[in-house]
């Protein structure tokens, strides 16, 4: 499929070098409506949001307020019902299913809610999976996967299956899988949801490091204020709308 519609991600060490001046994620009056007639649910209601490259953004809000919907739209897993979403300046609404898949493959990393690792598959094989679709050779894949696992502190656990790993370790495998491809944007839906606060803050330290050292843009949904404070900004959702955007760095300074 044609990826020429998008600027190539390449293998640049520093994603910030690609800066075009445009926001990475640009929502303009984006709505998402599920169902029809009486069963209609407006999950997102004319949301305007811009996120720049290199930012670390947290999304908070009560259950059902539209956080996951927003993340799915940003992740190109879904398309807006109305309004326009531009990723790196490209209108996602006009892309085909295959084009969106290729966009995800080359630019995005996902940390799904509840890990979502492949069962009965070793840590390294899990991390290798997105690299297979990127078309890397086996030897290159293994090198990249080992580097990613090392980065999340899982050396020596490469050949363990999820069943043989703790929750925190599984979440680290999921993070390694998301960052092994060196994505432009990392999307995380409640990455600390199933962990105690100590393990949770370890994961947050890891994400902060990835954001600062590698310049990976991170958008994270969380329920916990303590976790949101690791981010540069916190976007608050309420009933499908943004109720407030809070700049954490200003508060801390």
């Amino acid at each position: 499929m044609d990826t020429s519609i998008l600027p190539r991600s390449g293998n640049d060490k520093d994603k910030r070098a690609e800066k075009t001046g445009l926001p990475l994620v640009d929502f303009s009056k984006v709505s998402k409506v599920y169902g029809v007639g009486r069963a209609q649910v407006i999950a997102m209601d004319e949301v305007d949001l811009a996120i720049n490259e290199g930012e670390f953004v947290a999304i908070m809000g009560p259950s059902g307020s539209g956080k996951s919907t927003c993340l799915n739209l940003i992740g190109c897993l879904d398309t807006p019902s109305s309004g326009s979403y531009r990723f790196k300046g490209v209108a996602v609404g006009g892309l085909s299913r295959n084009q969106r898949a290729l966009l995800r493959r080359h630019y995005l990393g996902f940390i799904f809610q509840g890990y979502n690792l492949l069962k009965r598959t070793t840590a390294i094989e899990n991390v290798e999976m997105p690299l297979v679709y990127r078309g890397y050779k086996k030897s290159v894949r293994q090198k990249m996967s080992l580097t990613a696992l090392k980065e999340v502190g899982l050396e020596g656990r490469e050949h363990h299956t999820p069943a043989q790993l703790s929750g925190g370790e599984q979440q680290r495998v999921a993070i390694a899988r998301a960052i092994a491809t060196n994505p432009s944007l990392l999307l995380a839906d409640e990455p600390t949801g199933n962990l105690d606060s100590k393990k949770g803050s370890e994961i947050m330290d890891l994400l902060t490091k990835l954001n600062q050292d590698r310049g990976i843009t991170i958008i994270m949904v969380t329920h916990e204020r303590a976790m949101a404070e690791y981010a540069d900004r916190t976007v608050h959702f309420l009933d499908g709308r943004i109720s407030n955007i809070q700049n954490n760095r200003v508060i801390h300074q």
Binding site: N72, G75, N98, A101, R104, R105, F112, N116, M129, P130
Partner: protein, 402 residues
Amino acid sequence: MIWNTIKLAVSEIGRNMMRSFLTILGIVIGVGAVISMVTLGGGATSQITNEITSLGSNLLILRPGTNEGHGGIRTSATPFKLEDVEAIDNHIAGIAAVTPVSSTTATAVYGNTNWSTSVMGTDNKYLTVRMWEIERGRAFSANELAIGKTVCLLGSTVAEELFGSLDPLDAKIRLGKIACTVIGVLTSKGESTFGMDQDDFILTPVKTLHRRMRGNTDVNMIYISAESEISSEQVQEDITELMRERRNIRTGDTDDFELNDMAQVARTVESTTGILTTFLGAIAAISLLVGGIGIMNIMLVSVTERTREIGIRLAIGALGREVLLQFLVEAIILSLFGGIIGIGLGLGLAAVTAPALGIPFVFNLDIIVIAFLFSGLVGIIFGFFPARRAALMDPIDALRYE
């Protein structure tokens, strides 16, 4: 990418060995049954065809039939005479040889041993027409045939039974009431498919049999060898016409004799085999269909079970067609495995049962290749629907699937 897909499919199949095996059982049994049946059937056919050709090339057999007498009682028709043989030889064009056979049974005695067998009175052309070869000794001389001398040729079984390791040539045996000099022994043809000993008989000149053993000049059968297969139908027509004339059969009445064409019999056997093959093909198609449905069923279960995996793959950036290929390859590999195991099993079964049934084991590469390709095709056809279901999943829904 395709290599990765194949490796992935194999490891996925290996993850659940027991289920994979049960999945392909239908294909294994179907292919195994077809391979063993076709192999055994092919062996039997080749044996029967060989036997018919061993009767002689372009052989026509003329026998008296039955008469419909008064009150619908069927009686056997008048036997032929030597004059009939002469008439055929003189009047029919396109025949290579014609020979009479008059037969009786008699006990042959040599020393203390005796052996009951059939005695056929004929001439040297019988050897040509039925493709017998003389292993030791010689054929009848013109003189022996003309005056009906008491000489005989032994089938190998008779020679064995009467003489064992002794030399039968020039020995005198008693044949019924006459004493007879052995002038030759025929090469063995062995047993027929139906277990009949083809070498158990004695030949004498036809006149010897008529005068010294039967007391009449009846000819029971006439063997005719047509010159070439193409003219055999014309030859048959001519013979039929000649015999009707000689036996005074009025126009409209049915023949009171039978003329059988062995080439025709061979063709009949071949066409019967053709029908059998079609029948086996139909059974194969049905069993492969059943096997294919088994594969589709398990693939659907597998797709449902692995919904989350599919969701992860799609979300991470797998294209629909890549997911489709993954499941399709899995189904194809499964059914090819089934096909290979079935082929092995079928050949093994045929190899074991063929000797027990007394038929040769004929290895048929065509049917093996066809069975292999067919099982692959079953994988493609029945794997496609589950694979498409996987490919068309919505990644968000699939990730949420419990």
